[in-house]
Amino acid sequence: MGAETARPPGLEPRRHPFWDRVEAIGLRIPYTVKLVAVWVALFLVLALAFAGAHFDTAWMRANAWFIIRGVWVTVFIAVVSIIFSIILALLGALGRLSKNPVPYGLAGFYTSFFRGTPLIVQLYLWYLGLAQIGVNLGGVWKTYFVLSAVQAGILGLSLNYGAYMTEIFRAGIQSVPHGQSEAAEALGMTYRQRMRRVVLPQAFRVIVPPTGNEFIAMMKDTALVSLLGTSIAWADPFRRATLLGRADFRSLEALVVAAVMYWVLTGVFSFFQRKLENRLAKGYVRTSGAPAPKDRRPRFLPGSAGGGQGGGGMMVEIPEPDTGREAPPG
């Protein structure tokens, strides 16, 4: 195209016949097949590593059930802790947004301390430090301050994650357009009514994806609780793995089983999180008509961003931290 005039160097069209061929072949393979192939290939690599390590698979099979059974502890501690964390994060966020120096200062100190010290140190503080205070004060303090490992774990995780999630909640609340607050105020709503009816429900949608991620991360941090010395009844997969591994000198095999268990667990919860996000998308996305032709990603495979972004038309701008992958071109 165009006359054969001399072109400056750099404007010569680049040619890569090899990659052109690869792309041409690639275009003919459906997206799903390619995605599945990637996962299969990666699992093959893992399998090779597995085989190369010469694990005692018989031992793993014999003890897997004992290790896996502890997963209810993980879920329990994580669920209870995330609930408390959400409450703390909401209070912290409102504090950080407050013009009143008292809540602002409190929230600032809270986030600074609990984000600034390691989680394991905090857990020991609650388990050992608080207990010592209780014993020294005596009486009723002793009963309430000497916590079990699980109780100290829940307390520590709640406070720690609440501090991190304060930022998530604050950003979520601030993402609600100011006009919404104004409209609510113009109707004569009080601060509380405004928050409850207008701001927080809208902030909720922005807050859910990163909160879901925090929950999934927390499920793995619950393993730290076992370092405080939980009982057998309250032993999570990590504790069970370390105990069995230690006793039979098979720590690596035991920990691999525990790792797989955590992986499956996070996979399951990631799936449910995506469902929740899609359900929350109503009211923000036009669901009339078929999904946009470019979005051929299948909805059922792990790792694919869920639907809910299909269709043209008006969509309120919501930041999507993790799931906002664009549809693949072509």
């Binding site: 207990a131 699980v150 405080l228 009982s231």
Partner: protein, 307 residues
Amino acid sequence: MRKSTIKLGFVLLAAFTLVAAACSKSKSGGGGGGTAASTPAATGMCATVDQNGTDLLAAVCRAGVLRVATDPAYPPQSSYDETTGTWQGFDIDVATDIAKRLGVQVKWVTPAWDVITAGHWSGRWDLSVGSMTITAERAQVLDFSTPYYYTPAGIAVQKGSPITSFDQLSGKSIGVCGACTYEYYLERKLDIPGYTPTYVIPQDVKIVTYDTDSTAIQDLVLGRLDAVMSAVPTLQAAIDKGKPIQLLGDPVFYEPLAAAADKSAPEDPTSFIQAVSDIITQMHQDGTLTQLSMKWYKTDLTVNPLG
């Protein structure tokens, strides 16, 4: 509305988990995996104790339960068999017997080892029967009973290792469990009251600490260490489980192992640990300890090697 059913689901889930927690909650340091029932044979020592006293012994007798800290994965001293839901081991049997002779039930508690040796248990459990060596440092925070057995400490190397004598350990790496007497021995800082150890290991060994003996042994097998120092029964257990290691030479020292109570316990532990000591002396005299030692170690470790 769909949204409110999701919210309702969360609320129910939260309520359920909180209720489940309340039902299975226990305030002591982690709760026990199960209680070992002790058949109340003759009247225990508690029968002669003033139950209204304010000391730890009275408190234990009043409660009818002895809370014992033990390690759930330290065979053959102590381990938890999940298929039967029972505790097994030398330390387990000794502690069970102590409780029986006191006239109370046993409740097992499983805190972390360094939490036990640090003292300041905050009243979470009463007694530690965990093959703990009496050292002067520990004696500052814990009250020890009479030793109930003596364990030899030894060195293990890889099977077929070229190291055949202690001198050849010079400059080599030795793995030990952290905060264990073996670490102090290698550092030549071992302080056992009434016992002066002879240091036969070269001073220039590289000491590598681990959270537990088992991890150190696994590293020895992998070749990351040249040797491991630990209790001989532990090393022997590894050999019996097929680990390619072998003992090097004779035991380098003998440690007296005793039960311990917390010096800073909310109730005064003096009379309590005295009672435990008396019971242990009894167990030495009537042959119970020897019997248990033979059962678990195939050899009598309860005789004081120092006379």
